[in-house]
Symmetry: C2
Subunit: 77 residues, 2 copies
């Protein structure tokens, strides 16, 4: 049985998906929850600058690019 | 001034980085927090099956591959 806590509930967390593109400047975090026994869909939850959370479509190419952008954006050493 | 809440504090959240590889089966979520005024480093926080959270090195190639894997793993339609 999966642990129940605020980050891993026993059900899907996204009731609806935001289809509008999130500008990177407006993005504060992006959380990827793989599909599993709790939910048959991978879920992507974006935290916005205004504190809101929205669910993104993991199949959207712009969403995949957004994750890439965030990973690449960091300062290079 | 950035909003203060449990997901966007005014400081870095990772005190130390886990260097061991996380098997995908042990991963429940992965959160990417871009660098910003609150923290000069991109932070990647993995939620594990046992409920623990660990910080991963955003510069590690295996960490980038892990994020890719999770994004690609979903069922194709």
């Amino acid at each position: 049985m999966p642990p129940i806590n605020r980050d891993y509930n026993s059900r899907c967390r996204c009731a609806q998906l935001e289809s509008r593109i999130i500008p990177p400047d407006n993005l504060r975090s992006i959380k990827v929850v793989p599909e599993g026994p709790h939910c048959p869909e991978t879920e992507i939850i974006a935290g916005l600058a205004n504190g809101a959370k929205v669910c993104l479509n993991p199949r959207s190419s712009w969403v995949k690019r957004l994750v890439q952008f965030v990973l690449q954006k960091q300062k290079q050493v």
